[in-house]
Structure formats: structure tokens, C-alpha cells
């Protein structure tokens, strides 16, 4: 490390204000251009938005730790609103939790889901293809994951209506305690209690991922409390993200009719479309890390205890990594290397499930819908860290 350090660019912009949430990309471009590491006055945190720096922060999990929480507060000092999840842990706790989860969710176990995950997608898209317009978010993106994912985990039917509101709480808590946060937590206790009930072994079916996680308690790998927390992690991290993933993919494709036509001719390319859409419209946009020891990044000194806001959605549009057309969706681009699912130690465990859901929905829609185009302006959702739409009206012609 050299002695050549400099002060970070100081920005007054608030990434959590309404304008920057509804249309994040102009601010993110400014942030990237301000330098490798900036300081945000509004939140009192450092910020990284370039691909290289984001990659470094994500992969150096010893310097940029997660046990301080993914939100702006350091939950080591100031305990969070719920017991910390796998996402909010470091080795060695993380290591055992992650080992338990990887044994349960991996390409092999997820492959078996293609069968059960397909009929609900067929059913939903058949119904939608009979109309000439629908809302791609409320009629499809919000419906599909709820039809398949809770069954895969094995939770009872009762209480499923709490999943989306609970996910909304969990993710909004990765931002400041602003108006959005308060709205999300309005009936918080009720949602949290309902979800926690469904994490207990006796409420889980014998065949889902939930029961498989509890098997690891029998094997002595994890404790019962850790099993509860892992099932809770699936239920909180696995629904909203995928809803937004599907909605964002369709929001992009509705604007690229040529891509839709090419995909119809070759539905095998659906996987590439999903990947590229996750790059340009990353559902999980940003979260925090906590600096464990005094460090230096991009020539800027960052003190121990500081929070770093990691803008993965901005890294995915960094022209230094993706070229001048970084903001454009391009079916021919190789989006591999994007960080929409994170990178390194905490890289999304649910990635194969999310990809499978998105691919199936898109393939089924491609089969039945000849053209799709926006039918009015999409309405972005007001959310602290996720990017997605509340409403995405589309006009279609059936195949």
C-alpha cells in the first residue's frame, strides 16, 4: 500500500431520497464519476459504485464485514430489529450456516424443481395470453413466485400473504429509518410472527428445502435456532427479489421488440435475456458493509467502524467494465461477471432457484405472446434498496 492517499469526493446527494430511488441511474453515474470511493454526507457512509471497487469490497470479506448488518446502523453495537441472519454474519458463524444451506440448495436439488415449477407458469401465461393487455407485475411477476417458491420451501398455505410484506420489511431495513422504512414496518410484528411460525420444523412439509435444513440439525451441523434462521433467510430473501427479477426482465423486454422476436425464434436464449436484464435492472441495488480494520481503497483511507454503501446495480452499469453501451440491454452481450447476485462469500444461495423461476416464466410467455410493448409508463416502486416496479402495464398480441 502506498502513502499516496487522497480525500474522498464528498457528495451531498441522498441515495435514499424519492427522486434518486425512482430514477436511480443519473445519480449513480455521477457517483461513479466522482471517484473510486466517495463519502455521502446524507448517510454518513462511504460509497463504492464502480465495478472494480464493488468487486473488491465484496470479495474482501475480512476487511468489509457483514456482521455489522447490511443497513446503515452497526448492529454489533446497536442490536438490529431481529436476530442476525446468514446475510448478517461472518465466518465462523457464516461458514457453518452456509455449509448447511449449500448442501440443501445446489444445482442438483434445484434441477428437480423444473417439473413442479412449470405448470403454474403455463397456467398463468395461458390466462394472460387471452387478454390484449395486462399488468406484468401485478398479474404475473408478483403471482408466480408465490405459486411455486413457498411450496419448494414447504411452508403451509396459511400465512403466505405475509411473505411479501415481510420481505419488504427485511430489505427496506437495509436503508435508513425513513418514511419508506416506517411504511414497511407498519404491521411488522404481525408479519414477522407469521413468518417465524412457518420456520419451525413441525410447520414444514417433509419434502421441502425447509425440512432438509432441519435435517442438518439432526446431523449436528447446525443448531435448531440456526435452522429457524436459515428457513427465515429463504423466506425473506427468496420472494421479493424474484418478483422484481421477473418484473424487471419484462420491463426491459417490452422496450426491445427485436430482442423479443429473436427470443421467440430461439427460446433457449431466455437464460441470456434474464442474465442481461439482471445486469441492467438489478433487483437488489445496494447494501452496506462495515469496515473491520482501518483500510484503504482506491487511494482513500477508510476507518474501522465506517459503513460502506455498496452499489451493485451501479457496478453492473459501469462503462469501464461493460463499455459505452453499459446502460443498454443487449441480447448479444455476455453479462457473465455481473454482481446482481453478489460475489464471493455471501453470493446468493438462491441463484439457481431465481434463475429457474425467471427462465420458466419467460419461456412460457414467449411461447404464447407474439409481441409485447409498454402500455403506458411503468410505475417504479419506492423501496430503499430493491429496484422494481409497482405496476408495468403491457399490451400484447397472442401467438
Amino acid at each position: 500500500m502506498t502513502a499516496m492517499t487522497h480525500e474522498p469526493a464528498v457528495l451531498a446527494d441522498d441515495p435514499f431520497d424519492t427522486a434518486n430511488i425512482l430514477d436511480p441511474y443519473p445519480f449513480l453515474a455521477r457517483l461513479r464519476d466522482a471517484g473510486p470511493v466517495s463519502y455521502l454526507e446524507s448517510t454518513g457512509s462511504y460509497a463504492v459504485a464502480g465495478y472494480q471497487e464493488v468487486y473488491e469490497v465484496l470479495t474482501d470479506f475480512e476487511t468489509y464485514i457483514s456482521s455489522g448488518g447490511l443497513g446503515p446502523r452497526d448492529i454489533r453495537k446497536d442490536s438490529g430489529w431481529r436476530p442476525p441472519s446468514i446475510l448478517e454474519s461472518d465466518p465462523p458463524i457464516h461458514t457453518v450456516m452456509r455449509r448447511a444451506l449449500t448442501g440443501v440448495i445446489n444445482p442438483g436439488t434445484v434441477r428437480a424443481l423444473r417439473g413442479p415449477f412449470t405448470p403454474p407458469a403455463v397456467e398463468l401465461t395461458e390466462e394472460l395470453a387471452r387478454r390484449d393487455r395486462f399488468d406484468a407485475v401485478t398479474d404475473l411477476a408478483e403471482k408466480y413466485p408465490l405459486r411455486v417458491f413457498p411450496d419448494a420451501v414447504g411452508i403451509p398455505d396459511e400465512g403466505r400473504e405475509h411473505l411479501l410484506p415481510y420481505g419488504n420489511m427485511v430489505f427496506n431495513a437495509f436503508g435508513p429509518e425513513n418514511y419508506i422504512f416506517q411504511q414497511a414496518f407498519a404491521h411488522g410484528d404481525e408479519h414477522a410472527a407469521a413468518v417465524m411460525r412457518n420456520c419451525e420444523r413441525e410447520n414444514l412439509s417433509d419434502t421441502g428445502f425447509g425440512a432438509r435444513i432441519w435435517d442438518r440439525v439432526q446431523e449436528g451441523l447446525i443448531t435448531g435456532q440456526q435452522a429457524t434462521l436459515l428457513v427465515r433467510a429463504l423466506l425473506s430473501a427468496g420472494v421479493d427479489t424474484t418478483v422484481f427479477g421477473i418484473g424487471n426482465t419484462l420491463s426491459v423486454l417490452a422496450r426491445y421488440p427485436e430482442a423479443w422476436a429473436r427470443l421467440r425464434a430461439n427460446p433457449k436464449m431466455a437464460r441470456f435475456a434474464v442474465d442481461e436484464a439482471l445486469r441492467v435492472e438489478s433487483p437488489f441495488q445496494k447494501f452496506h458493509r462495515t469496515v473491520a480494520v482501518d483500510t484503504e481503497l482506491g487511494g482513500v483511507k477508510i476507518p474501522a467502524g465506517a459503513k460502506v454503501l455498496v452499489f451493485i446495480g451501479a457496478a453492473n452499469r459501469d462503462p469501464r467494465r461493460w463499455g459505452d453501451s453499459a446502460d443498454e440491454f443487449d441480447l448479444d452481450r455476455s453479462a457473465s461477471g455481473h454482481v446482481a447476485f453478489g460475489m464471493g462469500l455471501h453470493q446468493c444461495v438462491g441463484q439457481p432457484i431465481a434463475r429457474l423461476e425467471m427462465e420458466i416464466v419467460l419461456q412460457q410467455l414467449l411461447e404464447r405472446v407474439a409481441t409485447i410493448e409498454p402500455d403506458g409508463e411503468p410505475v417504479p416502486i419506492l423501496h430503499n434498496v430493491l429496484r422494481g416496479f409497482e405496476s408495468l402495464p403491457v399490451r400484447i398480441t397472442a401467438a
Binding site: 465462523p92 457464516h94 445446489n106 436464449m269 457473465s336
Partner: protein, 328 residues
């Protein structure tokens, strides 16, 4: 994996005529062969982790990792474990004498060493061989590294003394089972470290235990090369093979120095990939017919046996299977 002997008739894959310059005893049941080109020319530069095919006559081909210094291209060194019940490969090698001619392939690499800041090397028995050039490269680049080398007894552990002498006990830990018991993998692996890669080579049981423990590590931190106790070398099928792309309707020849993924991409067919190293599962492809040889770290034992899918960034056609039909 089962036996690695690939009893196919050797064909046109580029071969080199060499002469056995020296045969040395490296440990109980282990010999080390020093090979030079018959034409006196230097060998092509190769990278840590590389192996050669050794043609043992009557169509018997075996793979052995290179363990000579990277810079000394006037010779290649391989280490060979002699196993009593072997189907012939290692016995045939042990019967070779200094001065005999031999046919080998160009060095190829199925176990490449990725650049990182720290390394932990774990060797079980003769699995030390591919790690020796990796250690040399790590040391030369000033990386932070450690080697833990386990074996049944010191007498069976090839190159152990030489490594210890060269790099010292701070870097190298030798664990002989008859003195110190088995390797304590929990202690050896410890906790995941940022920017640390683990390279492990040894018998399947050891690698399975390491894989299990690294499931909580960052995806891609662990790299392994499997071999059976009877012979060293991933069963690298040494022949080119054909891949028929059922959806695209074309057939591609996959040469020995390219992955299916590379070969397929070269003809303009796209496959979703990420790590390109058999680690992430992204490139999983359905097999319509043919038998794969799995070389990834993703698929479970059941998946491998079912043979329905393969990871085309690393896995290949099994020996004796000239054609794979894939859902691409």
C-alpha cells in the same frame, strides 16, 4: 471416478518422442522419470497443474502431472506411484528403464492455477505432483502460501524432504499418518480467508472431505484434481471427440486442448457460463446421448452416475465415447 486407464487406440493427437533420461526412486513404490526430447529440442513452456499423456503401448494411455521446474524446459519430470492391483499403467511405467524411448503428448492443463493473493495447497500422497510447480510459482510471485502434505508414512511421501528443505517448516507441514494420525482437515482448512484459493490433489476420499468442508466458503475458492489411488492423473481422455448440438443441428469437433464450451462458442453457439472452471454450475447442459467424463466440482455423486447433465466448461466425453449429443 473409477480406473483412469484409457485403453483406446492411440491416434493422431500430437505426440512427442522422448527418451527416459533417468529413473529415480522418489519414495516407497514411487519412481520419478526424467524425460528429454529425442530431437534434443526444449519442451514448450507449460503452466502449473499441467499433465502429459504417456503412451504405454498397446493403446494404453495414462496421464501424469508434471513436477519439474517451470523454467527448465530441457526436461520434464513425472512422479509415478506403483500400485499392485493396477490394470497395468503404473506397472508398465515402472518397467521402463533409463535410455528407453517413450511417446508422450504435449503438456496440457486441466488444473490451472488462478491468480490470487494467498494459497493453501493440500496434497494427499502422490497428489503432491501437480502442486509442486504451483508452489514454485506462488513462491516466485511472492504470494502468501502454505502446503499441507499428508501420506501413509514418510517413506511413501515423494519429494517431502526436498520440499521441506527448500521452503522450510513455516511453509510446509508434513503429516505422516503412522506418526501423527490422519490430517485434521478442520484445523488445516480453518476459516475461509479473503482472496485465498485452495488447491487440493489426492485420493477421492480426501477431496470429498475437503469439498464438504468448503461448502461454506466463497464459491470458487476450492480447486481440486481427482485421481484414483492406483494412478495419478485425471482420466483425461486424450482423444478429440465430437459434440452434436441437437438444437442447433451442427456437429463440432472438440480438440484435446479446448473445452466443449470453447469449441461450441467458436461456431457461434452461446452457452450461459460464469466461472468457466467447473465451479458454479451455470453452464449445466442436458446430455441427450453419450457418456461424459465429469471434471467439475458441482455435481453430486448421484448426478454423475445419472449422466443426464454435464458442465461443459470442464467436462468432456468419456474415454471410448467418440460422440456426445447435447441439448444445445
Amino acid at each position: 471416478m473409477t480406473e483412469t486407464a484409457t485403453e483406446t487406440v492411440a491416434t493422431a493427437a500430437a505426440t512427442i518422442d522422448v527418451v527416459i533420461d533417468r529413473v529415480e526412486t522418489a519414495a516407497d513404490q514411487v519412481v520419478s522419470l526424467v524425460l528429454r526430447r529425442l530431437d534434443g529440442e526444449p519442451f514448450q513452456p507449460w503452466q502449473p497443474g499441467a499433465h502429459i499423456d504417456v503412451h504405454l503401448g498397446e493403446g494404453l494411455v495414462r496421464q501424469y502431472s508434471l513436477c519439474s521446474p517451470l523454467e527448465e524446459l530441457d526436461h520434464l519430470r513425472i512422479g509415478v506411484l506403483r500400485v499392485p492391483d493396477s490394470r497395468g499403467g503404473s506397472r508398465a511405467v515402472h518397467e521402463l528403464e533409463a535410455g528407453s524411448p517413450l511417446t508422450i503428448s504435449e503438456p496440457r492443463n486441466n488444473f490451472p492455477m488462478l491468480d490470487s493473493r494467498r494459497y493453501l495447497f493440500v496434497a494427499g500422497g502422490i497428489g503432491i505432483t501437480p502442486l509442486i510447480p504451483m508452489i514454485e510459482a506462488a513462491e516466485k510471485a511472492g504470494k502468501d502460501w502454505q502446503l499441507v502434505y499428508g501420506g501413509r508414512s514418510r517413506g511413501t511421501m515423494a519429494f517431502a524432504d526436498r520440499l521441506l528443505e527448500r521452503y522450510g517448516p513455516d511453509r510446509i507441514q508434513i503429516i505422516a499418518e503412522d506418526e501423527a494420525g490422519r490430517m485434521d482437515l478442520d484445523a488445516i482448512l480453518g476459516l475461509p480467508r479473503a482472496h485465498m484459493l485452495v488447491y487440493a490433489c489426492g485420493p477421492s476420499g480426501l477431496l470429498g472431505a475437503i469439498e464438504e468442508r468448503c461448502m461454506g466458503w466463497p464459491p470458487g475458492a476450492l480447486h481440486t484434481e481427482r485421481f484414483v489411488a492406483s494412478a495419478l492423473g485425471a482420466g483425461a481422455a486424450s482423444e478429440p471427440f465430437e459434440v452434436e448440438l441437437a438444437r442447433t443441428g451442427t456437429t463440432v469437433t472438440v480438440p484435446t486442448d479446448k473445452s466443449i464450451l470453447d469449441a461450441v462458442e467458436e461456431v457461434g453457439v452461446r452457452v450461459l457460463s460464469s466461472c468457466r472452471g467447473g465451479l458454479c454450475g451455470t453452464c449445466e447442459t442436458q446430455i441427450i446421448s453419450g457418456e461424459p467424463e465429469h471434471r467439475d466440482a458441482v455435481l453430486s455423486e448421484e448426478d454423475r452416475e445419472a449422466g443426464e447433465v454435464m458442465l461443459v466448461c470442464v467436462s468432456r466425453a468419456a474415454a471410448g465415447c467418440p460422440r456426445l449429443v447435447l441439448d444445445l
